[in-house]
Symmetry: C2
Subunit: 244 residues, 2 copies
């Protein structure tokens, strides 16, 4: 962890990775699955299902990025991955309505315990925005579900580029009307932060060791150095001088 | 005024014109000007100045729309108009910093007295978003200044088209992930609502007779028919079934 003192007066806006950083996607998907199991009397390994769904995300974005498929927003990518997974998990019998409802479980993810309070503290000092690969509708619906008081909802969808493409980070600074080094990217994933750093943004690393469940993998930081490392959003708010 | 009963259960999102509909741009610009007069000991006809600045807006957008100038966001258009006005109002002596600060007066506009309370009521029932020709940074900064709790900040800037081009209204429905007739445009200007209606949106007309000051012009509705006409945002919330 870095202990470099950090002058937060140069920061105007904080932009947040969302899946894993703000919300606990894995527990939320498992919970939605468990409800479906009860409603339909199904036996499904929901933790494995959640992991498989999320594992399809990087390759799907890569196909969009490489131009193998036309630009597709994350709801669309999630649905394609879901349709591919259903037979493997004994869920081929779901109706179109049930599939679509399950696909929109990503609009109903729950926040980590510190997310809402930490964001509210940060909002009183900075512009706070999403900067997520989730599409705008997904992020807006999630914010209402989870009580996330964003000042702005910025998404890969607006730039037709997925993170870690530099267009996303550069576009966020442009739309927020601030210099790149006045924007701080907050994320639980070093790869996202390294890309933000290369695009000229400041960086705050907030590890979420439970993202992949108890004993799950945490991506290594390697020799990356971030401006701030904080245990959660409350600690981040304190480091940035926001009142408790 | 229409008295057709309106079934609000079909509405998922409300999108708002901002200048004149949510905020009182004219009084706010005059107030900022008056402060500058005090600080710099200047005599300026600020009401005429505010009207002239706003009057430059439609022709400037038309130049952008017609491709005579490259796409320019509203901060950029406002600045070009401002620079053209300064000599006429005896303000050529303003420094670059003072010009830029004055240009950003549009980021600091005050809401009409009912705006904040009405939006908060509507927010508990619907997704509420801007749909303004103002750029994203302007709208985000204004929301923080004025306490406007938008779920989403949508702007002409995201579509590189200014209202009343249909791309703006259609783009809002697409990004919010809802059908066009599930979106209701709220505006004080019949021309904006007619364009929204042509693009397939629902419409709510909220006249703001003081937009151009006491005795100012109110654009005629003509033979347009809107889904709802309401005297202010509280009345609109009541018409749409939102609790007081």
């Amino acid at each position: 962890m870095t202990t470099t003192p950090f002058d937060s007066t140069a920061i105007r806006a904080l932009v947040f990775d969302v899946f894993g950083t703000v919300v606990d996607w894995r527990s939320s998907i498992i919970r939605e699955g468990a409800r479906l199991s009860v409603a339909k009397n199904l036996q499904v390994e929901w933790p494995a299902f959640a992991d498989a769904w999320r594992a399809g995300y990087q390759p799907a974005m890569q196909r969009a990025r490489a131009g193998e498929i036309a630009w597709t927003n994350l709801d669309g990518l999630h649905r394609t991955i879901l349709d591919g997974l259903l037979p493997r998990f004994g869920l081929s019998g779901l109706s179109e309505y049930e599939r679509e409802h399950l696909n929109r479980a990503w609009h109903r993810l729950d926040p980590w315990p510190d997310s809402v309070a930490g964001l509210n503290r940060l909002k009183s000092h900075f512009v706070i925005s999403t900067l997520s690969n989730g599409n705008v509708a997904l992020l807006v619906n999630m914010a209402k579900h989870a009580g996330l008081a964003w000042d702005c909802v910025l998404s890969a969808e607006l730039f037709q580029h997925y993170k870690p493409d530099p267009e996303v980070y550069q576009g966020a600074a442009r739309l927020l009307g601030v210099k790149r080094d006045e924007v701080m990217m907050v994320a639980a994933h070093p790869s996202d932060l390294v890309a933000a750093q290369r695009a000229g943004l400041r960086t705050a690393y907030v590890p979420r060791p439970l993202e992949w469940g108890e004993g799950g993998i945490v991506a290594p930081v390697g020799d990356a150095v971030f401006d701030i490392t904080a245990a959660d959003f409350n600690a981040l708010a304190t480091r940035l001088g926001a009142r408790a």
